[in-house]
Every structure is written in structure tokens, then in C-alpha cells.
Symmetry: C2
Subunit: 155 residues, 2 copies
């Protein structure tokens, strides 16, 4: 098992674009998002499949189990997860010695842009780039499983 510790921010402007080094198209769907566990299936560039189980969120941490699966399985499981599916393009943006991920949502969530940074510990100091806005780490509306259930971008 891994431990996922991450902070999440709305994006204030396009400043991150000049620092982006690569991107990939993610489709992800939710087969379960109850109190016990979130079960997520994801395809990356329609080439790689990953199944992820996440435990309950505690602060900004949660346990995480990740398994590679055949892309054919991922496609079928994404179909099974409909309509709890979302699509986003993820840009990798190194900044201040950390790897930021900027997610530009597509489809019914178009217009939403979220920046995430994964940390080694909850109290790790983070240098914030000037293109990030409000922190939404604890805002359930911005959990991906919540977005998958919603009709559009949170107001």
C-alpha cells in the first residue's frame, strides 16, 4: 500500500503553461465511492489501464493501492462506471523542486482547472507558484469522485 498525501488548488491564471513538460489524456470512472473505499478505473492516452483503491480520507492523507490492468479491461470497466466518468488532460509542471499536476477538465466539467501536488508528509513546506489560487484540498466538491457524480463545474 501507498499513502497519498496531496494538496489541491484552483488555478488562477495560465502561467503554468510555460512550465509544462508533458501531458496525457486521462479518462477515469468510479465503480464505488462509499465510506469504505473509492474504486477508480483510469485509462491514460487510451493505452494504459490502472485500477486504484483509496481508503477513507483523513485530513489530506489516504491509503492508496494501485494496480496496472490491461487496457481492454480498463475500457470495459469505464463503460461499466458510466455515467460516473470524467475526462481531463493532465499537464506535468515541475516547480520549486516538486512535481505539480495541472488537470484541465473536459466535457461537462470544461472550464475547471485544478493543480495538485503530492507530498511526502502532511507538514511538508510547499512553495506556491503564483498561478495557483484558492486551496481546495478539503473541499469535497472538488474530489474527483464528487465531480464524476456532478453535472458540471462547482459554483
Amino acid at each position: 500500500m501507498g499513502q497519498e498525501i496531496e494538496r489541491k488548488f484552483l488555478v488562477a491564471n495560465d502561467g503554468w503553461r510555460i512550465g509544462a513538460t508533458s501531458s496525457s489524456l486521462l479518462r477515469q470512472g468510479y465503480l464505488s465511492s462509499n465510506a469504505k473505499a473509492t474504486v477508480r478505473v483510469r485509462s491514460k492516452n487510451d493505452e494504459q489501464g490502472v485500477l486504484t483503491l483509496k481508503g477513507k480520507t483523513e485530513g489530506i492523507s489516504r491509503s492508496e493501492y494501485e494496480y496496472e490492468i490491461p487496457i481492454e479491461d480498463a475500457r470495459e470497466l469505464l463503460a461499466m462506471a458510466e455515467p460516473l466518468v470524467l475526462e481531463k488532460r493532465r499537464y506535468i509542471v515541475p516547480f520549486g523542486g516538486l512535481i505539480w499536476e495541472v488537470d484541465v477538465f473536459e466535457g461537462r466539467h470544461a472550464g475547471l482547472v485544478i493543480a495538485e501536488v503530492e507530498l511526502d508528509s502532511e507538514d511538508q513546506a510547499v512553495q506556491l507558484p503564483d498561478w495557483v489560487g484558492v486551496e481546495v484540498s478539503a473541499d469535497e466538491r472538488y474530489f474527483n469522485a464528487s465531480l464524476a457524480r456532478s453535472d458540471g463545474v462547482p459554483k
Copy 2:
């Protein structure tokens, strides 16, 4: 993906015991069992871990995806699934050219014994051994996910 087609019976007597060729102790827990998918984690003899996703049941068939996972992960995921966990000893019993599995439940389901046989097609002819009783293939009370939620043996 695989397709799981199986028939399930209560066991009428102990006649199966002389035909049993091996057995293993299964612990299995449910991280999700909603309309979309059942997500099951299983340990076998506390040595092997398997994660299984099953789609909606249609008649006696359902789609099934199975992935081996590290035993440490299986143990942690079983803890996460509590109290939706059940334990049984599974005996392998070849009969009439097919492999029957006889599950002897333990813990709060002690006394329950179920025989299952996996088929290649829904209309496959099956020679029934004389130790099987009532067929419960379509009886939701005997679905393992239902048993995991229940306090004991169905009346």
C-alpha cells in the same frame, strides 16, 4: 475480462467428502456491492491475494475481472472491508467431468455448506451429484456479498 457462469446448490449430505481432492481457506471481503459492480478482495491460505470486480448479474452469468495482488495488500484491504468479511474452507470435488467447489462456511455462517459449479455456457448440461440439494443460483440471500452483510445463515 472473463465471463462467470455458475450454478449454486445447498448441500444435502456429506457424500462430497470422499471425492474432495484438496482444500484452501478463503477470507473474502467486500469493498463495494452496489448496482454497478461488486469489488471483492480475497486471501487464499493467507498466502495469495486476489482482487475481483464483478459486473451486474444477468441470469446465472456476470462479467468478471480478476487481478493478483500482494498478500500484504489483501490483508490491509480485508481490514478495510470489515465487517463485510466472511471465511470459508473451499474443497475441490471433481464430479461428472466438472470441477465442483464445496464451500464450508466458518464463523457466524458456520453450518452453511454451498456447492458451486462453473460452466462454459448457460445451457450446459450438468450431472448433479446426489449430495446436492436445492438450487440457489438465483437466490440473492446466498450471494456471498449478501452473506457478508448478514449476521448468520439464511433461514
